[in-house]
């Protein structure tokens, strides 16, 4: 595999019975990249992220994170990565502080460091004002911030985020973006999936698009844009008509061919 890549997969495949959710994808994510992983619903994004973080075993293919084979060195890999999975993986009957303290210790921090970082993270995420509130009573946005805090408490080199901005208000999203950009500036690698393409466009330097389990595009955002513009020039859109570049949404729609049927309408809807 590619030794220079932080995240590297080779023919990564995952089948569920007859259904192929992820079909032989080869991902390359270099150190320090803010990498956006896009795709329509059911394309295989969450399945891929689960395989990359050890939450789901691949049917075939290989995964290397930071040069370590995930299959043979799962604990070593997990020590260096952080993950916010689809279901957020929280324990509802703990308070935010208790959960972060627990997460820190499970990631190998000593008791003092875990406690200090838990307090710092609660402050940073603006979750410290209700210390006795249980996680189960947190709002969705608060839970998201807490899951993010737990994923970074040990200072991971690689961070995997599945829909980190879903259900998060603008203020909280701003806080999260600041934190993520700070991590990138310090050399961490971030791999995120999101349906909010504006955020991905603003944050990510590199993007991959998965469609029906297959990787249909991968590279720097500018490379993708140029490639799509060259391949599918549409009059009235993109460079050449008004002089504006294609947005990530336009790139995405052209890549996955997402056109809605216009002949169908639900006439009974008010």
């Amino acid at each position: 595999m590619d030794a220079a890549s932080t995240i590297c997969t080779q023919s990564l495949t995952r089948r569920f019975g007859e259904f192929v959710a992820v079909d032989g994808i080869d991902l390359r994510v270099a150190r320090g990249q803010f990498f956006g992983f896009l795709g329509p619903n059911g394309a295989g994004k969450s399945t891929t992220i689960k395989m990359l973080t050890g939450l789901l075993a691949p049917s075939s293919g290989g995964i290397e994170i930071l040069g370590l084979d995930l299959a043979t060195h799962p604990v070593e890999v997990k020590q260096q990565i952080g993950v916010v999975p689809e279901g957020m993986a929280l324990f509802g009957r703990l308070t935010g502080y208790e959960f972060l303290n627990f997460a820190g210790r499970m990631y190998g921090l000593d008791r003092e460091t875990a406690a200090k970082r838990a307090v710092e993270l609660l402050d940073f995420m603006q979750l410290a004002d209700q210390p006795k509130k249980l996680v189960t009573d947190y709002s969705h946005g608060m839970q998201k911030k807490l899951a993010m805090a737990a994923a970074v408490i040990h200072g991971p080199k690689v961070l995997f985020l599945d829909e980190p901005f879903e259900g998060v208000d603008a203020i909280a999203a701003g806080t999260l973006k600041t934190m993520l950009q700070g991590m990138i500036a310090r050399g961490a690698t971030i791999f995120l999936t999101s349906h909010v393409l504006e955020i991905v466009e603003r944050l990510c330097s590199h993007v991959a698009i998965i469609h029906q389990g297959r990787l249909v595009a991968q590279g720097a955002l500018e490379e993708l844009r140029s490639g799509v513009e060259a391949r599918t020039p549409v009059p009235g859109e993109g460079l050449g008509s008004s002089g504006e570049r294609l947005t990530l949404e336009q790139i995405f729609l052209r890549t996955v061919g997402g056109m809605r049927r216009t002949d169908q309408e639900l006439s009974w809807l008010g």
Partner: protein
């Protein structure tokens, strides 16, 4: 309600029944679902045997009491039915099936339908099935003894069944409400502590009264006997007895009073269900004020001799359990069992020649300690059930599953040790001090039983997990495969330990039993160690199923 309203309600109820049926059919798509059905059938077969046997017994007793002209004795049958109906769902939550109906509130379901659905869900419960079967046995017994009493007895027993059903639902709904809030949970905790303290006084007081003033005890017993007559089981028995004696007006009066009880309890249930229907949240969120930040650094717990992740899991488990009112209630059940047996109906024969051995401290301590272990089965056999989507965290963090499982086992073992100590104190207070040899034999037996249960529980927790919300009361059921296997394990453990005692007694050597149990405990501990050694591989192989089951919404 208009005809259209009735039609709409009927359509909704049919839709709910259809959904429940589809959920059942769809669950059979997986092997686990099919195995669950088989296990459930076996469990229900067991219940059916108990139910039919009990019904035959109740029927025979009812037949003779009516034929001998003593229908008032029916009260001795109806009180146990009442207690069983109410206590069994709390003591055996693994069999309780009372699904959360609050999910239905997103639909335009009117309150009447919601109330009916909640009652219908509650009726599909082993306690209700057994209670109904036994009541049916009484009906048949009375009918065979005096056929003209049959319609009236049917009416009375229907009212009695309605009372039990509504009362059980009412208890569940209110206890869940009280246990949901930290403040009320603490009040209940204090009440329980007071109860424990008062238990200490029962022994001396009983001794004092039985030695010095028997007439007072008799008067108290007579008072209790009079008091029970105005309570539902007593009223039901009286209603039948009065009509049997041709006192129709008094019979109607008793039945009316019984129906008034049903209405009153129904009103209490209505208050709770209406609050739920209007979207009440039982969480602490609303009661949680914004507090000034606590700047003191609170370190996590340290567990001497164990790695940091094991201590972290232990702390997490203890904190979570302390916030789970229903679990705490389950854990104190052994004490209630001791109290019920000590002061229950069987106690009346305590001083007589028919005294049953259950009242001796030599048997009370092993029985209560065994029951303490049984109350832990919900936790031990479903280690990860309460974690829900948190299971993903365990797979994502760089900790071996062995340490995570060990942390959970240490928690369960600690609870068992604490419970055993409390039970020991309660046995001393209520029954007298068990002998040293019995205490030692029980502790060794418990070590053997705990090691076996933890070993099997660890494996089943991965093979047959079930998402479990420890904050809700009696609305969930453990995997039936797990229930069946855990019952098998208990039979095996009790059988093995019992055989050891029997053989030792047969040869007149009590030490032999202890030695056998020590040997068994060593073997069980070796098996436990072997399970822990392989648990990482098992967890990895079943990762997908475990995550899918526990992350299910």
């Amino acid at each position: 309600m208009t005809k259209a309203g009735f039609t709409a309600r009927g359509s909704q109820l049919r839709a709910i029944a259809w959904v429940r049926w589809r959920l059942f059919v769809n669950s059979l798509r997986t092997t686990r679902g099919k195995l669950d059905l088989i296990s459930r059938s076996v469990v229900w077969l067991g219940f059916a045997m108990v139910g039919i046997g009990g019904a035959a017994g109740m029927g025979t007793a009812a037949f003779f009491s009516v034929r001998e002209g003593k229908p008032g004795l029916l009260t001795l049958l109806l009180w146990p039915i009442f207690f069983f109906w109410q206590v069994f769902p709390i003591m055996a939550t693994a069999f309780t099936n009372n699904p959360d109906s609050s999910d239905l509130l997103r639909f335009p379901l009117n309150y009447g339908s919601y109330f009916l659905v909640r009652l219908a869900y509650g009726a599909a419960d082993p306690a209700t099935a057994l209670g109904s079967l036994w009541s049916f046995g009484i009906l048949v017994g009375v009918g065979l003894a005096r056929s003209r009493l049959l319609p009236w007895t049917l009416l009375v027993l229907l009212a009695f069944a309605a009372f039990n059903l509504v009362f059980m639902q009412m208890i569940f709904a209110w206890v869940e409400r009280w246990l949901a809030r930290r403040r009320t949970r603490e009040v209940m905790g204090i009440l329980f502590l007071l109860l424990l303290l008062s238990v200490q006084l029962i022994g001396p007081l009983t001794g004092y009264f039985t030695k010095r003033s028997r007439p007072e005890v008799r008067r108290f017993a007579e008072l209790l006997l009079q008091g029970q007559k105005i309570l539902p089981p007593g009223l039901a028995a009286r209603a039948i007895a009065q009509v049997s004696a041709s006192h129709l007006r008094a019979g109607f009066y008793s039945l009316g009073l019984l129906c008034a009880f049903v209405l009153a309890i129904g009103c209490c249930l209505h208050v709770r269900l209406l609050a739920q229907y209007r979207g009440e949240s039982l969480s602490d969120a609303a009661a949680s004020p914004v507090l000034p930040q606590d700047r003191r650094l609170r370190l996590g717990w340290n567990l001497p001799g164990f790695a940091s992740p094991v201590a972290a899991v232990f702390e997490k488990e203890i904190r979570s359990l302390l916030r789970s009112g229903p679990m705490l209630l389950t854990l104190i059940m052994p004490i209630f069992m001791l109290i019920i047996i000590r002061f229950g109906p069987m106690n009346s024969v305590r001083q007589s020649e028919m005294a049953i051995p259950g009242h001796s401290p030599g048997l009370a301590f092993p029985a209560a300690a065994g029951f303490a272990l049984l109350t832990l089965t919900n936790l031990v056999y479903n280690n990860f059930g309460g974690d829900g989507s948190g299971i993903q965290f365990f797979y994502a963090c760089p900790v071996r599953f062995r340490d995570i499982v060990l942390g959970k086992n240490v928690t369960h073992a600690s609870i068992l040790m604490m419970e055993t100590a409390v039970v020991w104190v309660a046995v001393i207070s209520l029954y007298g001090k068990p002998t040293l040899s019995i205490t030692i034999a029980t502790l060794i037996g418990l070590l053997f039983a705990a090691a076996v249960n933890l070993s099997v529980g660890n494996v089943l927790s991965i093979y047959s997990p079930k998402k479990f919300d420890h904050s809700t009361f009696g609305r969930q059921r453990a995997s039936q495969i797990t229930v069946l296997i855990s019952m098998g394990v208990q039979v095996l453990v009790v059988g093995t330990a019992g055989s050891a005692f029997w053989i030792a007694r047969h040869y007149g050597n009590s030490r032999a039993a202890n030695l056998t149990l020590v040997l068994l405990a060593i073997i069980a501990l070796c098996a436990y160690r072997a399970v822990l050694r392989h648990i990482d591989r098992v967890a990895r192989e079943h990762q997908e199923m475990l995550v899918a089951e526990l992350c299910r919404a």
